[in-house]
């Protein structure tokens, strides 16, 4: 495994101010991404995966989002302490993000060319911003994501293109200029399974070619297995388990991961396990101890009152559950 840490999130908390208090969504979350690594962040709807990723780029709505504690260190600098100019540089050259829904990620009133060329213009140093050069880079970027007929696509509006093509355009925007980290938020979820397969293959190829690190956010364990080296499982704002991908599927430890894996229908048949009873806690008053405790069949008194520490069980496998204390 490459040794240099590119992104290091330490004890991050994100709260949203609402009527009647704060939604304490992200809770003491820590996560590392090494250079060149493909990391999966897996969790169900409402677990705070997207909030966490938006915090990294500082694109949370500042009027309501509040970060009481935590550090997000990207290449040795804390993103939370950056000023405007540094943030601009981070977003244009450091980290790129691909959103789940390519339809709402593109502006419907501008052509693809205007939007793509904008991204390229801001990533280039001012003296290199010639029209011709920007256009050439845009055409090249579309070629890289296997879109045919690049000139026509650059002149098209997003509505004139299919969902799969729009997602390719979003990817081309993200990789058009060299980035060190790519955050892909459910990049295939809104697409059909055959198109999702094409998009994921494309992403993997591009990441390998450019040596970019990637954080793949997904609710699908299958997608994470096929795409990543290491997986973080997130539940209700906290990381409950982290392990190399192969280990996680062979030997899941946290009761949530075990329940989640059992819930996934398999193409070999044999029925589906019962799922996990209950639902995600209310973030206004989350449980004091382990946030999974109300849904956990193995919990005891300690889980009610104390947050479980993150335990190292060896082989790069970490789990936040008292059951694995030695």
């Amino acid at each position: 495994m490459p040794e240099e840490i590119l992104l290091d999130i330490k004890g991050l908390n994100v709260w949203y101010r609402v009527y009647g208090g704060y939604l304490k969504v992200v809770h003491n979350l820590s996560l590392q991404v090494y250079r060149g690594e493909r990391v999966g962040l897996v969790g169900e709807a409402g677990c705070g995966k997207t909030t966490t990723m938006k915090a990294i780029l500082r694109i949370l709505p500042e009027s309501v989002a509040h970060i009481p504690r935590g550090e997000i260190i990207f290449r040795g600098r804390d993103v939370l302490k950056m000023n405007r100019a540094e943030l601009q540089k981070l977003r244009s050259r450091g980290i790129a993000m691909i959103f789940q829904d390519p339809t709402s990620a593109l502006n419907p009133v501008f052509t693809v060319g205007e939007q793509l060329e904008d991204v390229i213009r801001f990533a280039l140093p001012p003296e290199e911003r010639q029209k011709k050069r920007i256009h050439d880079i845009a055409v090249q970027a579309l070629k890289e994501v296997y879109l045919p007929d690049q000139e026509r696509i650059l002149q098209s509006y997003p509505v004139q293109l299919s969902g799969g093509m729009r997602q390719r355009i979003c990817i081309s925007m993200a990789i058009t200029t060299p980035r060190e980290l790519l955050i892909a938020d459910e990049p295939g979820t809104s697409l059909d399974v055959t198109i999702q397969d094409q998009i994921l293959r494309l992403l993997r190829e591009l990441v390998e070619k450019h040596g970019t690190s990637i954080i793949l956010i997904t609710h699908s364990l299958g997608v994470a297995r096929q795409m990543t080296d290491r997986i973080y499982v997130m539940y209700a704002g906290s990381i409950v388990e982290a392990a190399p991908s192969a280990t996680l599927f062979k030997e899941p430890l946290h009761p949530y991961t075990v329940g989640l894996l059992a819930s996934v229908p398999k193409i070999s048949g044999g029925g589906i396990a019962e799922g996990i009873p209950g639902r995600i806690p209310n973030y206004l008053n989350p449980p004091n101890g382990c946030r999974f405790q109300p849904r956990c069949s193995l919990s005891d008194d300690r889980c009610l009152s104390q947050s479980p520490p993150i335990l190292d069980v060896g082989g790069g496998h970490y789990v936040a559950c008292f059951r694995y204390e030695r």
């Binding site: 169900e44 709807a45 299919s162 799969g164 093509m165 059909d192 399974v193 055959t194 198109i195 999702q196 397969d197 094409q198 994921l200 293959r201 609710h219 699908s220 364990l221 299958g222 997608v223 297995r225 096929q226 599927f249 329940g259 989640l260 894996l261 059992a262 819930s263 996934v264 229908p265 398999k266 193409i267 070999s268 048949g269 044999g270 029925g271 589906i272 396990a273 019962e274 799922g275 996990i276 009873p277 639902r279």
Partner: protein, 335 residues
């Protein structure tokens, strides 16, 4: 086993505009024939734009078919719901994909369940309340939920209410249109298991529509696959996954992300997915899948293949199984 529902050469076109040649139609369902056996779950799988939802809506009477027949227990039901008899409407019910928008936010769950109870079973007052509580019990929700509004409960619970509503008229057939697509996997597991249990308990027949192959593997008796308004392949669930014959089926199965090596081995040899589903306004000539097909021959763009029986109960609509295929190969050898 008796046939409960049969579609014969069913078509549903929508007029979407006109050009110099005359009106332009979107061919959502384009000549579909199949039978549903009493008590089984027929899985209908397809990508977005394949026409699977239109087919479902036509069966429940939200649309009138453009051509062909729908027979329910031998009786032609190819008309819109407002012209169907109450006795017929009682028999076929539907559960929609998004429980957030299929339940009226201004009604309580008691009122939502009350309407079909009054219309189909004539229950009012205390008898209605008792029946509604019984329905909630069937989907494992407590009686207090009668007074709640849909917005105050979770997505999985809403879908359970939608299922309870569909069961209120004591139907014999339920059309499930992507009932778990909007839900998390841990919730999905619960809903699916409940649906399977209810099917046994109430002797229901399901037409289960989904785009998720791994879900359908675990619920369906037989699976039919749809592409651009036509069926491509129909087989028993196990055989469908173990011996898929249509190139499109193989492409779909090999695109499914799986979570174990065991499943990985089950997948057909990697068929790289390519291309996208074309618009149903402009369906390709011949076999509509030919532009994306890795095994296409010259005949495929010219002649629309017929559905062929390849093994007992296993139908495929592909030229590789029709007589045209050997002819093409010969042409190829000479050329």
């Amino acid at each position: 086993m008796a046939v409960i529902l049969e579609c014969r050469d069913l078509t549903k076109y929508f007029r979407v505009g006109r050009n110099k040649q005359g009106p332009v139609y979107l061919r959502a369902v384009d000549g579909v024939s199949f039978e549903v056996q009493e008590g089984e779950t027929l899985g209908l799988v397809g990508e977005s734009g394949s026409g699977k939802s239109t087919l479902a809506y036509t069966i429940v009477g939200m649309y009138r078919p453009t051509g062909g027949h729908i027979l329910f227990r031998g009786q032609d039901i190819g008309m819109e719901a407002d012209r169907r008899s109450m006795a017929l409407k009682k028999e076929i019910q539907i559960v929609f994909q998004d429980p957030g928008s299929s339940l009226n936010p201004r009604r309580t769950i008691g009122q939502i369940l009350g309407l079909p109870l009054v219309l189909h079973r004539g229950l009012r007052g205390a008898a209605q309340e008792e029946a509604a509580i019984e329905l909630l019990r069937k989907v494992e929700l407590p009686p207090e939920y009668l007074l709640k509004s849909p917005s105050s409960i979770g997505g999985g619970e809403k879908q359970m209410v939608a299922i309870a509503r569909a069961l209120a008229s004591e139907p014999s057939m339920v059309v499930l249109d992507e009932p778990t697509s909007a839900l998390d996997v841990s919730v999905q597991a619960k809903i699916i298991n409940k649906l399977i249990a209810l099917q046994r308990e109430m002797n229901l027949t399901y037409l289960f529509i989904t785009h998720d192959l791994s879900v359908i593997r675990n619920v369906a008796t037989r699976i039919a696959i749809m592409y651009l308004g036509r069926l491509c392949e129909l087989a028993q669930a196990a055989e469908f996954f173990e011996q898929p014959e249509h190139p499109y089926t193989r492409m779909l199965i090999s695109s499914v992300p799986v979570i174990s090596d065991e499943e990985e081995r089950l997948k057909p040899k990697k068929v790289e997915s390519r291309g996208e589903i074309p618009s149903p306004v402009n369906i390709p000539s011949g076999c509509s899948f030919h532009p994306r097909c890795p095994e296409r021959a010259s005949v495929c763009s010219k002649v629309n293949p017929e559905m062929v029986l390849v093994r007992p109960g296993h139908y495929v609509r592909c030229h590789q199984f029709t007589s045209c295929w050997s002819d093409t190969k010969k042409v190829g050898e000479i050329g």
